[in-house]
Amino acid sequence: MARNPYLPYPARLEETIVENDAKDIKTFRLAFDDPAGAAEFQYLPGQFAELSLPGMGEAPFGIASSPTETGRLLFSVKRTGLFTAELHSIEPGARIGVRGPMGKPFPWDRVAGKDLLIIGGGFAFTTLRSAIVYILDPANRSRFGSVLAVYGARTPGELMYRADLAAWQKRDDIGVHLTVDKPDQNWTQHVGVVTAVLETLTPSARNTLAIVCGPPIMIKFTLLTLSKLGFSDDAIILSLEMRMKCGIGKCGRCNIGSKFVCTDGPVFTREELKTLPVEY
Amino acid sequence: MSQTQIVPEAAAPRTWEPKVVAFLCNWCSYAGADLAGVSRIQYPPNIRIIRVPCSGRINPVFLLRALQSGADAVLVSGCHPGDCHYISGNLAARRKFTLFRDLLKYVGIEPERVQFTWVSASEGGRFASVVEKVVEQARKLGPNTKLVKRA
């Protein structure tokens, strides 16, 4: 019989990593209690899962780890509401439920053989981390062309995954450009908004797909820049956030027009989004 | 047509002890309770204290929530009139509590389940006797069944 879609896989918190100076973003490393659960939880970068704490409810988060990182299931969460506050307060060893994976991943079939431009802003870098780790995995790297990543945050202290970023910057099979609005005295990289960096880098749109995740205002201006650079709407891939409950297309609150963000998304091309009401 | 599953409370009547939630204002009544403790005045251990800044801070929904969560009685205590740290918080509260008590009584909830009093920081003895009285009355009433939510 099919598994009850409302029943989370039991898991435990293994480790908590503080990601930013404000200490309101933490990465949670989870481990499934049951190896069968781990085996069933097959995901691809871009998908999300509902984390569940009894009494506090559930909330959806993009999966920050890559399936290539066997045994490492990561979620990076900013403290904003009731659930996230509780999540931030639990200690390693605590029980946590995981329901998923949910939604559609980045379109990996389409990405194969193409160059990639990955643009992220602030806290919305979680599934982009997943994507980069996935691409850079030796077993996958040859499937993709060149990879250029631009990641911006307000301050150096707000950049997530700093160890990963440093490691990626040492490699020659990915270009990683970091930028901040307000540098501190040790900052030696770009200063300014993501779009400004894009305009100096002028990446080619030819045979390239762009994946963009970030706060709404960044998305808005990045889309303008990408159009100027010649990216067609079909070549721009976005990931949406929405209030969700069931995550399986039943509870009816995350719809944008006839599409459900939880099952038809959260990944959409800009072209798809243009056919939908602006209710996100 | 709800699918609520009612599970009967496990507590056997013999071992049942009333649970009383007390909302005490920070400046007078909480200090009064503290004094009762420091002075080793005996009072029933059935009470669970929640410290609030002022009796005027209490929204009656707090009291309903306590009853729903399984309290058998609720006690609210503030500063005596004229002594409020915020000048008049307790006086505004007095009107609220007057009406709230009437409301509960009207729908058939025993008024003894929700009690109000004033206790000053020097009245450790008064605090202990009030608690004794409230617990005794709650014991006489038996478990709160009307508003409690069974999980």
Binding site: P54, A59, S258 | S2, T4
Partner: protein
């Protein structure tokens, strides 16, 4: 399929028989003068004299509160699913038809909803055709009709002294077969009488134009009429809660001391909190967007996703709206 008949005087016998095999819900007076779809205990006096129930029977397959998970010591467990069968006698054609809309949501595709599936598969629906629709009824405009057997396992028509029964599904056939000793074959005259009764019931209903509604609503997305219509809307959940096809739900936890449950409860797109993000952003920030969502969902999005209107024309939202908003008027105004 052959029509069967049973004298209405034998209705109690029929229901008593049904009660031997299932929990039976049937129209009965509730003590305040209102006819409701009541769980029969044998004491109720069942009546066929009613227009429709105030509450749609959706709660019997999608309860307003339903436990999804139980928590014990911080561990989640599946609750025991309700067992047994139910028979819903006297459901009106519109409400039976609505079950097919709910099926699309909860049983269509992957994954199935196990809670809905259990209640739905255990339910047998005996629809009672309408002889006298109300002025708020418009089932004929949305694909149904006063004698529509869609969604029913058995369709019943109340004639002068008889109840005419026709199986609409194999489940219905089996049910009628098991009652064979109470039933006899209906005469062709009775069948004809039933057809005429149904046709007569269709007449008074004012048609509402809904064909092509999906495309027309797509074009009307930015119409100023949404703003105008939604100004009156009070933002309550009456329309959704009474609607036989509205199915949106919330999920909340109720836990005390490590034990408790995860519950789903009916929710409503007219509530601002329905779509409010934790960040404070709200994709549908004003009554205009919320009101449009409800109409769009029923007459456009559902058509795009399931090729089915999520409105069965029962008229409850019209009759009970505290601001007397009428979606028929709005549909007309937006040209749908």
């Amino acid at each position: 399929m052959t029509e069967k008949r049973i004298p209405q005087t034998d209705l109690d016998r029929l229901l008593a028989r049904l009660r031997q095999r299932a929990a039976v819900y049937a129209p009965a007076e509730d003590g305040t003068g209102e006819v409701v779809l009541a769980a029969l205990s044998g004491k109720e006096s069942v009546t066929l004299e009613y227009r429709n129930f105030r509450l749609s029977p959706k709660a019997l397959v999608l309860p307003q509160n339903q436990t999804l998970l139980c928590f014990k010591d911080g561990q989640a467990e599946e609750p025991r699913l309700p067992e047994g069968e139910t028979i819903l006698f006297g459901v009106r054609p519109c409400d039976a038809r609505a079950l097919l809309a709910l099926d699309q949501v909860f049983l269509n595709g992957n994954p199935h909803d196990p809670y809905y599936a259990r209640l739905r598969s255990g339910a047998t629906v005996i629809t009672l055709a309408c002889a006298r629709p109300m002025s708020s009824c418009f089932c004929t405009s949305v694909g149904g009709g006063p004698g529509d057997g869609t969604g029913a396992d058995v369709l019943a028509v109340a004639l002068a002294g008889d109840l005419l029964l026709r199986a609409e599904t194999s489940k219905g056939e089996a049910l009628l077969a098991s009652l064979a000793d109470l039933l006899s074959d209906a005469t062709p005259a009775a069948v004809k009488e039933a057809q005429e009764q149904v046709r007569a019931a269709e007449d008074p209903m004012t048609p509402v134009k809904v064909d092509g509604s999906a495309e027309r609503l797509r074009q009307a997305y930015d119409s100023p009429l949404w703003e105008a219509a939604s100004r009156k809307c009070l933002g309550c959940g009456t329309c959704s809660f009474l609607c036989p096809t509205c199915h949106c739900f919330d999920i909340t936890d109720e836990v005390r001391g490590g034990a408790g449950r995860r519950v789903r409860t009916w929710d409503c797109c007219a509530y601002p909190l329905f779509t409010l993000h934790a960040s404070g952003h709200n994709p549908r920030p004003t009554p205009k967007e919320r009101w449009r969502q409800r109409i769009m969902h029923k007459f456009r999005y559902a058509v795009e996703n399931f090729d089915r209107l999520f409105c069965v024309g029962c008229g409850r939202c019209i009759r009970h709206c505290p601001a007397s908003l009428d979606l028929r008027t709005v549909l007309k105004e937006v040209g749908a």
